[in-house]
Amino acid sequence: MADVTAPVAVPRRGVSDAVRRAGIRWGLRLIALAYLTLLLLIPVVLVLWKTFQNGLGPIADSLSSAQTVHAFQITIVVAFYSVLANTIFGVGASLLLVRHEFRGKRVLNALIDLPLAVSPVVVGLALVLVYGRLTGVGKALASVGINVIFSIPGMVLATTFVCIPLVVRSVAPVLEEIGDDQEQAAATLGAGPVETFLRITLPTIRSALAYGVVLALARSLGEYGAVAVVSGRLVGRTQTVTLLVQERYQNFDQTTAYTCAVLLVLMAVLALLVSRLLRPRELST
C-alpha cells in the first residue's frame, strides 16, 4: 500500500481507512442519537404533547392563577440563592482540590459527591433533625427572627444540599486539564491571587462554569422530594412549582401540572442559551 521512500514516513491513507473512519463516525452518531431519542426526546415530546393537547386556553388559565404565579416566584427565589451558593462553593472547592495539596484531600473529594447519594426523604429528615424548630439550633435562630425549616431558608438549604457537586464536577476536570502554567506566569509577574483569579483563571473556566451553573439551576428548579419535606407545603408561601405540579396532578388537573413542568424545562433551556451567549467562541464547535 504505502511506498515509503521519503525521509519522513507518511503512509498514504487508503479508501478502506476513510470508510472505516466514516463508519466509526456514523456508528457513534447512530448509537448516541438513538439513545438520546429513546430516553430523552420521546418522553419530552410526550410531555409537550400532553401539555398542548387541549389547546392554549387551559394553559393560559392555569398560568394566571395566583397560586401558580406564587409558586414560580418561590421557585425562582430558592433556585437563585441555591445556585449562587453553589457557584461560590463550586469554584472555591474546585480551586482547592485541583491547585492545592493538603491532608484529607481524597476524603473531601468523596464527601463533595455524597449529597447526591442521600435520598430526598433523608435530606429532609437530616435538616429537620439539626435545624428544626424544636432543636437547639432551630430555636436559637428563631429567637433572632430566622426561621429555617418550613420557610424559604430551609428550602434553600435543601436545594443547595442536592446540588453541591454539580458546579465542582464541571469546573474541576477543566482546571485539571488546563494546567496552571498561566497562573504561575502571572504569579512570577507579580499578580496577586485575586487578580490572577479574576483575570486568568476565571476566563479560562468560564465555559465549564457555565455548564455547571446551568446544571445546578436545572436541578434547583426540578427538585421535589427534599424540598417537600422541609417546606411544610404551605400554599402560596413555601409551595414551589414542583410541589404545585404534584398537587395539581393529584387533583386531576393535568393541564396545570404539565404546563408548569414544561415551563420549568423552558427556564432551564433559556439558561443554557443565555450561558451560550456569554461564553467565548468555542474552539472546536
Partner: protein, 291 residues
C-alpha cells in the same frame, strides 16, 4: 494553553521511529500550599459542614439509637436487604451504562458536525429540570403497558433501570463535555498526520485526558441512582421484594415512626456510596498513572 502533557498523553511508544516526547513540565504538578489553602479549606469545610456534614451526622448518630444490635437488625430485615440489593445493583448498572453512553454522547455533541445536534445539546439538562412525577409519568407512558413503541418495562426491575437512566443522563455528558471542548487538538492532529488510527488516537491521547471527567461523572451518576425515589415508584409498581428501592423502604420506616431503622438504612447507603466514590477516585488515578 498548556503545552506538553506530562505523565499522560502520547509517549515514545506511539509509533516506531517517532521522536520521543519532550520532558514533562514540572510546573504542572507543583500544587500550592499556603495561606490560600488554609483559607479555602476553611471556607469549603464550613460550607460543607453546615449544609451536609452536620445534618448527615445527625442521621448517622440516630442510626445507633438502639445500639449496634439495633443497627444490625435494621439493615438485615428481608425488606432492607432486598431493597438494598436492588438499589445497589441497579445503580451499578446505570453507572456503567452512563460511563459508556455519556462519553459517547459528549463526543458526538462536541466533535461531530451533525446538524440538529444543538437540539439534543439543549435537551441534556432536562431530566434535572423535570419534576419527578412528570418524568415518571412520561416514562410510564412511553415504556409502560400502553407503549407506542411496544417496549414495556413497567412493573419490572428493568423499569427501575430505565427511570434511573433517565435521571442520571446529564451527569457524565456534562462533566466530559467541557473537558472535550478544552482539549488541545495539536497532539491528535500530529498523531493523525503520522498515520495513527482513530482508535489509537482516542485510546492514547484523548482518553487519558477525559478519564478524570468520566470518573467524576460516573461517580455522580452512581450516587444519584442510589437515592432516586419518585420516578422509579411510578414505572416500577413499587412491589415489595421485587421492584421496591431503598428510598421507599426508608420512607416506610419513617411512616412507622422507626427513625432508627430509617437512619440505619440511610447510613448503609451512604457507606456504600462513599466506598464506590473513593474506589472510582483510586481507579481513575491508577489509570492516569498507567497512561
Amino acid at each position: 494553553m498548556s503545552t506538553a502533557t506530562t505523565t499522560t498523553g502520547a509517549g515514545p511508544g506511539l509509533l516506531p521511529g517517532a521522536r520521543p516526547a519532550p520532558p514533562a513540565t514540572p510546573s504542572r504538578r507543583r500544587p500550592l500550599h499556603g495561606k490560600g489553602t488554609a483559607l479555602g479549606l476553611g471556607f469549603v469545610v464550613t460550607f460543607l459542614s453546615v449544609i451536609v456534614l452536620i445534618p448527615l451526622g445527625a442521621v448517622v448518630w440516630h442510626s445507633q439509637d438502639q445500639g449496634l444490635s439495633g443497627f444490625w437488625h435494621a439493615i438485615t430485615t428481608p425488606e432492607a436487604t432486598s431493597t438494598l440489593r436492588l438499589t445497589i445493583g441497579a445503580s451499578v448498572i446505570v453507572a456503567l451504562v452512563n460511563l459508556v453512553m455519556g462519553t459517547m454522547i459528549a463526543w458526538v455533541l462536541v466533535r461531530d458536525r451533525l446538524p440538529g445536534r444543538a437540539v439534543f445539546d439543549t435537551l441534556i439538562d432536562l431530566p434535572f429540570a423535570l419534576p419527578t412525577i412528570v418524568a415518571g409519568l412520561a416514562l410510564l407512558t412511553v415504556y409502560g403497558p400502553n407503549s407506542p413503541l411496544h417496549l414495556n418495562f413497567a412493573y419490572a426491575r428493568s423499569g427501575v433501570v430505565v427511570a434511573l437512566l433517565f435521571v442520571t443522563l446529564p451527569f457524565v455528558v456534562r462533566t466530559v463535555q467541557p473537558v472535550l471542548l478544552e482539549l488541545d487538538r495539536e497532539m491528535e492532529q500530529a498523531a493523525a498526520s503520522l498515520g495513527a488510527r482513530p482508535a489509537t488516537i482516542f485510546r492514547r491521547i484523548i482518553l487519558p485526558n477525559i478519564v478524570p471527567a468520566m470518573a467524576a461523572g460516573t461517580a455522580l451518576a452512581f450516587a444519584r441512582a442510589m437515592s432516586e425515589f419518585g420516578s422509579t415508584v411510578l414505572i416500577s409498581g413499587n412491589l415489595p421484594f421485587k421492584t421496591q428501592v431503598a428510598s421507599v423502604h426508608i420512607y416506610n420506616q419513617l411512616e412507622s415512626d422507626n427513625v432508627t431503622g430509617a437512619a440505619a438504612v440511610s447510613t448503609i447507603l451512604l457507606l456504600v456510596s462513599l466506598v464506590v466514590l473513593v474506589g472510582l477516585d483510586v481507579l481513575q488515578r491508577w489509570a492516569a498513572r498507567r497512561g
